[in-house]
């Protein structure tokens, strides 16, 4: 890397409402209480792989560095183990903040390209939305088709073994949808969609 880049951040490039917005979705009202102690990063089992440590994500969120926070790999590497949340001395629900950032990134299409976690989340929710349950085999197929079809070849051995051991079937798990009867999931979706509008 011989290239030198200029990194000054102008106030006009920040989003002054970003922190509020994220705190709102995340039930993370305590976001602003962060003292930047880094306990979250220290407790996080995945932090060594992140481009920004969780602490920096909190700082960037608070400071309105929207683009940086939303396009970071950090939020997609979060494995939802809740260690940061449990350990935070200010009781910030960091895992929920990460969820909120993921939601926002997907909405704003700012997540790193072909980053499979975001695709997984999308494919997963689409399947659940349609069938009410999730079938792991189909999920994996979609995931690889949308991200890296070549990697699927490597995974096919694993898939085959799972199939042979009876741990993965071709049958789609589903529950009746759109019956309009009592408890119908489709009715609930519709009600939620209406409320969203």
């Amino acid at each position: 890397m011989d290239e030198i880049t200029r990194t000054v951040k102008y106030e006009a490039d920040t989003d002054p409402h970003f922190a509020e917005e994220i705190a709102g979705i995340a039930r993370g009202e305590t976001l602003r209480a962060c003292i930047q102690c880094g306990n979250c990063s220290g407790a996080c089992p995945v932090s060594p792989y992140m481009d920004y440590t969780p602490r920096r994500i909190i700082a960037m969120t608070r400071a309105g560095f929207k683009r940086e926070a939303l396009s970071s790999t950090t939020i997609w590497l979060c494995a939802s183990c809740y260690n940061c949340t449990v350990e935070c001395p200010k009781q910030i629900r960091i895992t929920d903040v990460m969820y909120a950032l993921k939601q926002k990134a997907i909405k704003e299409r700012l997540y790193p390209k072909r980053f499979p976690v975001a695709v997984l989340a999308r494919e997963f929710s689409a399947a659940v939305r349609q069938f009410g349950r999730n079938s792991e085999l189909w999920l994996i197929i979609y995931l690889y088709l949308k991200t890296n079809p070549f990697a699927m070849l490597k995974q096919s051995i694993l898939g085959l073994r799972l199939f042979l051991q009876g741990r993965m079937g071709l049958k789609r798990e589903r529950i009746p949808m759109g019956t309009g009867k009592k408890g119908d999931l489709q009715t609930i979706w519709n009600a939620l969609d209406r409320a969203d509008r």
């Binding site: 089992p45 995945v46 993921k102 499979p116 989340a121 659940v128 694993l158 939620l192």
Partner: protein
């Protein structure tokens, strides 16, 4: 004892052996599990990344179904809902907390459930099988039925993240012991190791494999280092990550040595003298060959 049972998607596929062994063990111990009819996916960690309200609504529908099928409502006692998958257990418990704490989200969800003539009144108690066995049934009752004690077997009990965090209700968040005590009751020897609650990598193993593999590799390595013959899990995803990826793990980390990874219910079944096939042991990638009860 009769309980409603929420299997979750994984127990119907990759985690089939968990369901098989759980049902077999419960039948032997006289614990009745009735599968929740028409249950839907809990939403897991993925839906939460898409839409919080919808994720909680997915969970809440199951809770409402449990109240209906458990025949509880205002003015009645509670019903137990047993969720063996750690992710399902957490998501359902988290939804309960959210419905209680957050009026705004709670209101939206209640309204959506009402559209489908469902309601949730807060009368479901989420239970993980570990909680069920150690606290509701009691270790003495289990001990009494052990026919093949796990004498000499060194076991690394792995709890993972989501049954102890962030809502540790039935066990200690930092040093959980329910599974260790269970192993002792079965005649085995739990090893003391520091990574009991360290994340296995979760869904990362499938998406950012180099990260997930390394996390799982370290867990297995440390368990071996502490002398474990077998590692026990209480979650289908943990079991999948730790067991099924041991071949690619070996490719990435040449010093990796295979270690059998079982559901704790499978080992329970062995100690209770059940046939291996009833416990789904034939589905293992890393076979567990150690004889028990000798």
């Amino acid at each position: 004892m009769n309980h409603l049972y929420y299997p979750g998607c994984s127990l119907k596929s990759t985690g089939r052996a968990y369901e098989e062994s759980l049902l077999a063990v419960c039948a032997t111990l006289g614990v009745g599990l009735t599968e929740l009819q028409d249950w839907n996916c809990c939403g897991a960690t993925s839906y939460m990344a898409i839409d919080e309200v919808k994720a909680f609504a997915l969970a809440a529908r199951n809770l409402a179904l449990a109240e209906e099928q458990g025949k509880v409502g205002p003015g009645t006692p509670t019903v137990d809902l047993v969720a063996p998958c750690a992710a399902c257990y957490l998501v359902l418990a988290k939804a309960q907390h959210c419905l209680e704490e957050n009026k705004e989200v709670g209101g939206k969800i209640t309204a959506a459930l009402a559209a489908a003539q469902l309601q949730y009144t807060g009368r479901v108690v989420m239970r993980h099988p570990l909680d069920l066995f150690t606290n509701a049934l009691g270790l003495d009752a289990i001990k009494a039925q052990v026919t093949k004690p796990l004498t000499g077997l060194k076991v690394a009990c792995y709890y993972g993240c989501q049954i102890v965090r962030p809502y540790a209700t039935f066990d200690d968040q930092y040093h959980p012991m329910t599974m260790d005590h269970l192993v002792t009751a079965l005649g085995g020897t739990p090893v003391d190791w520091p990574l009991k609650t360290r994340c296995c990598g979760g869904s990362l193993t499938g998406t950012v494999q180099e990260v997930g593999l390394r996390m799982s590799y370290h867990l297995l390595k440390e368990a071996r280092k502490r002398g474990a013959d077998v590692l026990l899990t209480a979650c289908p995803l943990c079991q999948f990550n730790l067991e099924c990826y041991q071949d690619p793990m070996k490719a990435l980390f040449p010093d990796h040595e295979p270690l059998p990874v079982l559901y704790f219910t499978q080992l329970m079944g062995l100690a209770l003298g059940l046939e291996r096939a009833r416990l789904g042991l034939q589905r293992l990638f890393v076979p567990f060959r150690q004889p028990v009860g000798v």
